[in-house]
């Protein structure tokens, strides 16, 4: 009897999980479907679901009109670079807060998080002027630094939470055995926190990849990443939804594939330490 209840509950849970999953995935699915329609089919009423003449025409047009690889390469460098730089700064910062906290550690953590509460547009003009002075406008380096700074509070917070789960005694034991600070962080702490670091890296790559405020405002022709590629297909005077969908699909495909393959790691990292 008990077994039957469990199975029923399991079924309900599975159906609920699939329903929620599909609901969340639906806008992406719709974008992908629209990218294979003609412009007339894209605005058809009632909307066409699967039964239409699938076409690759939009992808061909987008390929012909834009240098996709250049945008992609900029996205890879900016998202990867900012995350890497953030981790290099975030690991020692999180280590010190987790293992040698001071009286003000909690305040510092809160202060760091509070920078995320400021609307980005509030600092757009100062940063824009600074970029002009430093010659960083429309450079991948400038954008990497800005995105790293924006995501740094999240990186430090996530790493801090993971590090807190690691027993300090293990690090103490390493110190007893004569490990230096560098060795302690590199050979003891980092390997133990790999799942946490991995999920931090993945989440930050996704955040940096999707970032559309700074990437649109601080770039023009040279450093523009995939967000600018999508924006260039949006039109207020003309119905180009199918082409816009094709451009969007091409822009999100790499990150979607990355997320798909690393979902185990991502879930494990995000729930790390949730159950004691």
């Amino acid at each position: 009897m008990a077994r039957a209840v469990t199975t029923r509950r399991k079924t309900i849970n599975t159906i609920a999980a699939w329903a929620i999953g599909l609901l969340i995935f639906f806008p992406i699915l719709w974008t992908i479907l629209t990218s294979f329609k003609t412009e007339a089919q894209a605005i058809n009423d009632p909307p066409l679901f699967f039964f239409f003449d699938w076409t690759l025409e939009n992808y061909a047009i987008v390929q012909e009109r834009s240098d996709y690889m250049r945008y992609l390469w900029n996205s890879v460098i900016i998202a990867g670079g900012s995350t890497l730089l953030g981790i290099v700064i975030g690991v020692p910062a999180a280590w010190s807060m987790a293992f040698v906290p001071s009286k003000r550690t909690k305040d510092i953590l809160m202060w760091m998080l509070s920078t995320k509460m400021l609307p980005a547009v509030g600092v757009l003009y100062p940063i824009y002027l600074l970029f002009i002075k430093l010659g960083l406008l429309d450079t991948r380096f400038g954008l990497t630094i800005v995105l790293m700074l924006i995501n740094l509070p999240i990186i430090i917070w996530m790493l801090y939470t993971y590090f807190k789960e690691i027993p300090g005694e293990i690090l103490e034991a390493a110190r007893m055995d004569g490990a230096t600070l560098k060795e302690e962080i590199l050979y003891i702490l980092t390997p133990m926190a790999i799942p946490g670091i991995a999920s931090t890296v993945l989440l930050n790559i996704i955040l940096a990849w999707n970032e559309a405020f700074w990437t649109l405002n601080l770039t023009a022709a040279k450093a523009a990443p995939l967000t600018a590629f999508i924006a260039s297909y949006s039109s207020p005077e003309g119905l180009f939804y199918a082409k816009l969908s094709a451009a969007s699909t091409m822009a999100i495909a790499p990150i979607l594939i990355l997320g798909w393959f690393s979902q185990k790691q991502l879930v494990r990292g995000l729930t790390f330490g949730a159950v004691k």
């Binding site: 003609t38 412009e39 007339a40 605005i43 058809n44 009423d45 009109r65 757009l124 003009y125 824009y128 002027l129 002009i132 406008l137 429309d138 649109l216 405002n217 023009a220 022709a221 040279k222 523009a224 600018a228 924006a231 260039s232 297909y233 949006s234 039109s235 207020p236 005077e237 003309g238 119905l239 180009f240």
Partner: protein
């Protein structure tokens, strides 16, 4: 020996500088509209003629506006040419942000630019942006539905004609709506349309002392008419419909009439996208009986050079190329006359080939009927037909647009919307020191 070396160095330097001047790379900011995309595809012709190459930064209209304003105000120097509209040109020219285009060569034939366009893109009599394409607004209507309903549309209708036709064609059970109009909030969305309706009812935004006039009977009559027309005979959810939404509805055969930009004519008559391509008629935008102004606007997407660019000469060459008569010929030879950028040059409308395009005549008449220097029957201190060419307008227009959109959605009455828009406008203008 010394002399020889010096000569060699001088020759090398001259060569470098000549090559440098010859092969510039221009960065051009533009919008993703059909005519602009076509221009991007034809850039090779410009490169072949001048040696200069072009890098395009294509952005969505609102993003473009924000980006280029920010760049020009902060002197970021990101762009050598900017695609700007009729609203920005006189304001930016007054700020000395743009390079004058008065010295373009005689072969460019500046006098060929349609007078209304030239007036809207000039400041103190000098041209500061060259029109790439221009538009007005007009009525596009379904000839088959009109016939079925037993009504006809004169070439120069009044609002009463429009209302009667809308009523006769509306068949909500079959999802046919008599008229589709803009309802989506925004100074360039519903406010562009509502302002032209107000003009055609004899209303004006400001009196000669910059006092807002939204509390006048003319405004009340205009907005009440618009609200009644759209809510009685328009599609459901009209308060969120902008150009694209109405275009989709019209192409699917759900609108009896649509009053909007003349550039829409080439979309709705294109058989690849439109289900009603061969059933569309055109008429001038309407007016109220007795009011000598029609509800048609004037807009141009134009190319301008920001002051301070290092590549002014090459930028001028590009503008000369892209807005020339030769460019129009080039597009016509590759894509047909229906696809050339409209509304910029007089000679285009004198061309017998172009006169065969069904919407050519009505587009020209609509543009000619618009005068940005005198947008209303009463005197006004501002320039602009569907906008007021002052920097504060974007904020004022958008705030008013939200009130009118809420009105169409049924959230407030005409009086409430007008009172709020009047109060907000008065406050903004006072804060701006008018």
């Amino acid at each position: 020996m010394y002399l020889k070396n010096a000569l060699c160095a001088a020759t090398a330097l001259t060569l470098i500088s000549t090559t440098g001047a010859f092969a510039e790379t221009l960065t051009i900011a533009t919008v993703n509209n059909g005519d602009m995309i076509r221009m991007q595809g034809l850039t090779d012709d410009f490169t072949a003629k001048t040696g200069h190459t072009v890098e395009w930064v294509t952005l969505e209209e609102n993003v473009l506006r924000q980006r280029v304003t920010q760049d020009i105000a902060a002197k970021g120097g990101q762009f050598d040419i900017m695609t700007i509209g009729m609203y920005e040109t006189p304001i930016w020219a007054a700020n000395e942000w743009l390079v004058s285009l008065e010295d373009l060569p005689a072969s460019y034939d500046k006098d060929d630019i349609l007078p209304a366009m030239r007036a809207g893109l000039s400041h103190s009599g000098n041209l500061y942006a060259a029109p790439f394409y221009g538009e007005s607004s007009m009525i596009m209507y379904r000839t088959d539905l009109m016939e079925k309903a037993g009504v006809s549309m004169p070439d120069a209708p009044t609002w009463s004609d429009v209302e009667a036709a809308a009523k006769a064609m509306t068949d909500k059970d079959n999802e046919i709506y008599g008229v589709c109009l803009r309802g989506k909030a925004g100074w360039g969305e519903n406010m562009a349309f509502i302002t032209t309706v107000a003009n055609s009812f004899g209303a004006r935004w400001f009196d000669e002392n910059w006092k807002p006039q939204l509390d006048t009977p003319e405004w009340k009559e205009a907005v009440s008419f618009y609200n009644n027309l759209l809510t009685s005979y328009g599609p459901p959810g009209a308060s969120t419909n902008g150009f694209n939404e109405n275009l989709a509805l019209f192409q699917q055969g759900k609108c009896g009439m649509w009053i909007d930009a003349t550039v829409a004519a080439s979309f709705v008559t294109n058989p690849n996208d439109s289900t009603v391509a061969d059933k569309v008629g055109f008429a001038l935008a309407p007016n109220k009986e007795g009011v000598d102004k029609r509800a048609n606007w004037l807009w141009a997407w134009a190319l301008a050079i920001p002051a301070g660019t290092q590549k002014e000469a090459a930028a001028k060459q590009f503008i000369e190329w892209a807005t020339s008569k030769d460019y129009i010929e080039l597009v016509a030879s590759k894509e047909g006359w229906a696809n050339v950028p409209p509304g910029a040059r007089t000679s285009l409308y004198e061309n017998p080939e172009y006169q065969k395009v069904p919407f050519a005549k009505m587009t020209l008449e609509s543009i000619n009927a618009a005068n940005p220097d005198s947008p209303t029957v009463q005197p006004v201190p501002y320039v602009g037909i569907q906008y007021v060419a002052i920097p504060e307008w974007a904020g004022i227009g958008t705030a008013a647009g939200q009130e009118f959109s809420a009105m169409v959605a049924g959230q407030q009455s005409v009086d409430e919307a007008l009172a709020k828009a009047q109060a907000n406008t008065a406050e903004e203008m006072e804060a701006a020191g008018y």
